[in-house]
Amino acid sequence: MLTKKITKGYKKWLIILFVSLLAAAAVVWYLFTLKYDDTATVKADYTVNAADFIKEFRQDMKAANTKYSEKIIVVNGTVSAIEAADTTMNIKMIDTAQNGAYIIFAFQQQHLAEAKAMKEGDKVSIKGSCSNGAFSNILETEYITFKRCAVNTEK
């Protein structure tokens, strides 16, 4: 009778341990294989016009960074330059009326072809994760960088 009770208790703890280990392994696996979503499918937090966006950063860099940093933003504007970066392409929107301040977009791997298809002067709508705005001592102007970008197809 006593042996049966001990065996039952032992089995119960063994099952709890096994389930806990399984859960821990699942959490670790989830965390290690976590990937960013395709930006094209992520809902944007803000939609802005390039010139107004640059103006906002130039007027108050700290406030603009607090508002936009790490947010998904749709930027509507005109392509000023296309820069090759190794095997990738970056798209730039420069505001010559604002001291040459610019926004630069680095595209997600699966959306690189969209960047490569763009031409200077094209009116485009780009969605991406806003990294930060800063002042460049090299270029002596403000700039805002975006990562994980895609062409915006949302209306």
Binding site: L34, N90, A106, S131, N132, N137, I138, Y143, T145
Partner: protein, 181 residues
């Protein structure tokens, strides 16, 4: 008088023609802090500002810390948080320096040149001297530069628990690639 004006104009025109500070806003920095037990701390920043003055040999770059992209969102969060790069407090990293053996590089002649670069790297609010070898490739109007070096995170005041646990390399390797046209 006319001759003087003409000479001055020529000097000015020559100066403008050979104004040699080249810049790019699409330089790349690869950051690799992987270890044998963690292959995730690896990132790339493709929107780095870089400059090269072919006359003086001065080189510089500026990188926004939040522009480093990791494949894993959690690692990216760790990288930016206060325990590691603290990108809220220190939003940019920068380097200013010079090519030591500038006379060995012919920017007007196609070729691959080995150079030595000496300067100061500012990261996490700490500035330290850095010296590294680099390759300059001249091809027509294009100048490509590539440099590899490593930094001791501890020297820059970066001491997260992941470093102590061996999940992040104590001396990550950094690769800087820039193309000037």
């Amino acid at each position: 008088m006319k001759k003087t004006i003409l000479s001055l104009a020529l000097v000015l025109a020559t100066g403008l023609l050979f104004a040699q500070k080249k810049t790019t806003t699409s330089a790349i920095i690869n950051f690799d802090a992987t270890t044998s037990i963690d292959k995730l701390p690896k990132a790339e920043n493709k929107t780095v500002i870089a400059s090269l003055d072919t006359r003086t040999g001065k080189v510089a770059f500026e990188a926004t810390v939040k522009s480093f992209t990791f494949s894993n969102p959690r690692i990216q969060d760790h990288f930016n948080n206060a325990g590691w790069m603290d990108s809220e407090k220190f939003p940019t990293a920068s380097f200013t320096g010079s090519i030591v053996n500038l006379k060995d590089v012919k920017f007007d002649k196609d070729g691959v040149y080995s150079v030595s670069v000496k300067g100061e790297l500012t990261m996490h609010g700490v500035t330290k001297p850095v010296e590294t070898k680099a390759i300059v490739t001249v091809s027509g109007k294009s100048i490509k530069t590539a440099a590899d070096f490593s930094v001791k995170l501890e020297d820059y005041g970066v001491n997260g628990p992941a470093i102590g646990a061996g999940k992040v390399a104590k001396e990550p390797s950094i690769t800087v690639l820039a193309e000037f046209n």
